[in-house]
């Protein structure tokens, strides 16, 4: 099985500063990291490879320094890496990003399974995965919480819905976005990092794509108009319950059940 994991470099801290004048996120490459949600996607790929064989390749789009996360993925066990980078890809919204990724994937290889993290910690839209599947015209399942079995031509997964779980059998090729905690992500290996630190990475720019029309990429390919970017308000919700033990226990049980900590 040939697996591709899409990963992204995001700011290293949750406390991202926003330039008050331009409203643009202040990105500091010295303090960047692999999107935490993508760790679960990568771990899922590596586990599937361990169990069923095949390859796990990684792809990212970003500035040249985003190569760092491809090497990080190698240190976790990924096979090949590709970077999509071009100034003309900058300022892309969800539509342009997923289109660019789909173009890059066509260059990078043929994959049975594409895995994405649920969302990123900087954009938080959770839309690039499903939109990428549209661009590639393959089926997509989001919020995958468990992989039950891989068969010759399909994969059996459990999707988490707001109220319940849904069992699905999806034909290859397909795209899955996986939930946090589907597996505990492994740590990068020092030995693997040393062994792969000079592994070549494929780099794709606009001229490498099938579609070289600039209008389909970056800011000019993005119908989304950003009016303003601002940090979200921080809510620390706290509830205080009072009552007798029986009543509180019942309430706590219902809450845990609702939050799916217990079945």
């Amino acid at each position: 099985m040939n697996i591709l994991v899409c990963i992204k470099q995001v700011p290293g801290s949750n406390k991202v500063e926003v330039d008050p004048v331009t409203g643009v996120l202040k990105r500091n490459s010295a303090d960047a990291k692999l999107n935490p949600y993508d760790l679960y996607a990568l771990e899922t790929g590596l586990r599937l490879r361990e169990q069923y064989g095949g390859t796990v390749d990684v792809l990212t789009m970003g500035p040249p320094q985003a190569k760092a996360i491809l090497y990080e993925a190698f240190a976790m066990g990924a096979d090949r890496g590709a970077l999509i980078t071009d100034r003309k890809f900058g300022g892309a919204d969800v539509l342009a990003t997923s289109y660019t990724l789909s173009q890059g994937i066509k260059r990078f290889g043929a994959f049975d399974l594409i895995l994405c993290g649920l969302q990123t910690t900087d954009g938080d839209t959770a839309q690039v995965g499903p939109e990428l599947s549209e661009q590639l015209d393959i089926p997509c399942v989001c919020n995958v919480r468990q992989i039950k079995e891989v068969q010759d031509k399909s994969i059996h997964v459990v999707m988490e819905m707001s109220e319940d779980m849904e069992d699905l059998q999806v034909a290859f090729p397909c795209l899955l976005t996986v939930q946090k905690d589907i597996y505990e992500p492994r740590l990068p290996s020092y030995k693997k990092a040393k062994a792969t630190c000079e592994r070549p990475i494929e780099t794709y720019t606009l001229t490498d794509m099938d579609d070289t029309d600039e209008k389909h990429y970056g800011l000019s390919g993005s119908p989304t108009q950003v009016q303003r970017i601002f940090p979200p308000e921080v809510h620390k919700a706290q509830e205080k319950w009072q009552g007798d033990g029986q009543e509180l226990a019942e309430r706590l049980y219902q809450l845990l059940k609702q939050q799916k900590f217990i079945v």
Partner: protein
């Protein structure tokens, strides 16, 4: 020895003049938790619990107790492991948990002044949010700082940063007769006579009652990286530690852990550890201001580990990677506790070069006497935590085997030139082992000091050096 008086209804009426009646718990109002600490099986209810909010209240209570010969037991969050907060003579228990305020952050002197009931986790988050660092890092984050001072708690960062005593600049204490005394202060140096502050630290509430502490802070290191190092055997893992120390590398922590304890923690936490390829691990942490600086520290260490047979070096370089590892490490005590019916612990400290000898001895011991024993600990500072588990042993058999195991372990620690307790203290239950391990002259001095501080012996009697 004169018998202690208990708190009567008449006393209560007087004491309610010092402390609001609603913060005094008398008789049936006393919750079960006040009868014991975290681990020891000793259970004694005090006759009164006072939930104090000020130094003045403590002073008045102490003066009264001293005058009426009522035993006083200080209590923080009750997370102690050696029975120091068990009110053996009943009497008055003074609970500090409402005295839990940060009083002052002095950025010019790099000090933090706190009340004793502030929880360690609250203290840490308060200073870290402001870019400062209070390094002592005992596993039990819900302990109070007063409790940490009373036991001179150490924790995982001792290998680089030292223990609680190294971060206490000054104390406000209430003496047994109610006198309020300031010891030390915000000064960095102090050669002004005997260091009474240092004597109070680690005295487990037997010399004076701590009502305020001035703590030393450091600038918060901007970055940290943890290395999880899987080894084929525990012997190889621990054998590597002296080489790391010798290499002049400066990790903030070097912990050792075994697969079986990790499995307990996985079950306890309901989440998987990020690695399962080995039976033994070292866990190291490095801090610094940039990732490059830290990588320059750990490169040599990584090579030493590989040369000693490490399977790999796993790098936890972000919060989401290091959190599950340290969360698991932090849960060991509770996880082991949950895996058995009852347990007792040994907290010996041995020279760092002898940790392997002690761990091997413990492995052999569990086979020799046929009892389940689990261990983990601070390989970097020689402080081991060994837990003897009761499981389904009968009362009689449990006591017999536990005593035998304890006796042999403390004897081994002495042979290796170690000490009875690295950080948990002596309290009530480790006194016999302290007696066996220290020269009589030391114990005589300790008892003399106790006599000078507390002539009527009302402060936490029967603890530490009082056999």
């Amino acid at each position: 020895m004169m018998e202690y008086n208990q708190v009567t209804e008449a006393d209560l009426a007087v004491l309610a003049g010092f402390v609001d009646r609603e913060r005094l718990l008398f008789g049936d109002e006393i919750n079960e938790e006040y009868s014991h600490d975290e681990l020891t099986s000793e259970r004694v209810y005090p006759s009164l619990v006072a939930r104090v909010v000020s130094t003045e209240e403590v002073s008045k209570l102490m003066a009264y107790a001293n005058e009426h010969h009522i035993a006083v037991t200080p209590r923080g969050a009750g997370t102690g492991l050696v029975g120091a907060a068990v009110a053996v003579e009943r009497g008055l228990m003074i609970d500090t948990t409402l005295m839990n305020h940060v009083l002052e952050l002095d950025e010019e002197n790099l000090t933090l002044t706190v009340e004793p009931g502030l929880l360690l986790m609250e203290l840490r988050s308060y200073v870290e949010e402001r870019g400062f660092y209070y390094p002592p890092d005992p596993g039990e984050k819900s302990a109070t700082i007063g409790g940490n001072i009373s036991t001179n708690a150490g924790g995982m960062t001792a290998v680089k940063y030292g223990v609680t005593r190294d971060y206490v600049r000054g104390l406000e204490v209430v003496l047994a007769d109610g006198t309020v005394l300031q010891l030390g202060g915000k000064v960095v140096k102090n050669s002004s006579g005997y260091d009474l502050k240092d004597m109070i630290i680690g005295s487990e509430g037997t010399l004076a009652f701590v009502t305020k502490a001035i703590l030393k802070l450091l600038p918060l290191p901007k970055k940290n990286v943890s290395l999880l190092v899987p080894f084929p055997t525990l012997e190889q893992a621990i054998g590597t530690v002296p080489l790391i120390i010798k290499s002049k590398s400066v990790p903030t922590a070097i912990e050792f852990m075994e697969r079986e304890v990790i499995l307990d923690a996985e079950e306890f936490l309901g989440r998987k550890f990020p690695d399962n390829q080995a039976d033994a691990y070292l866990l190291l942490k490095f801090d610094g201001n940039t990732m490059e600086e830290i990588a320059s520290y750990y490169d040599d260490t990584a090579q030493i580990c590989l040369d000693q047979g490490a399977i790999d070096i796993l790098i936890a370089d972000t919060e989401e990677r290091s959190a599950p590892v340290w969360k698991t490490r932090g849960a060991f005590l509770e996880a082991i506790k949950a895996s058995t019916s009852m347990m007792d612990e040994v907290d010996v400290v041995v020279p760092r070069s002898r940790v392997n000898d002690f761990v091997e001895f413990v492995h052999q011991l569990r086979q020799d006497i046929g009892i389940r024993i689990k261990s983990f600990g601070h390989a970097g500072d020689g402080n081991l935590h060994v837990y003897i588990l009761r499981d389904d042993l009968s009362d009689e058999k449990w006591r017999e085997l536990m005593r035998l195991a304890m006796k042999r372990m403390y004897a081994k620690a002495r042979e290796l030139q170690g000490q009875v307790s690295g950080e948990h203290g002596i309290g009530l239950v480790k006194r016999p082992y302290l007696k066996e391990s220290l020269p009589e002259a030391s114990l005589v001095l300790m008892r003399g000091i106790k006599q000078v501080f507390d002539p009527n012996n009302i402060l936490n009697p029967h603890k530490v050096c009082q056999m």
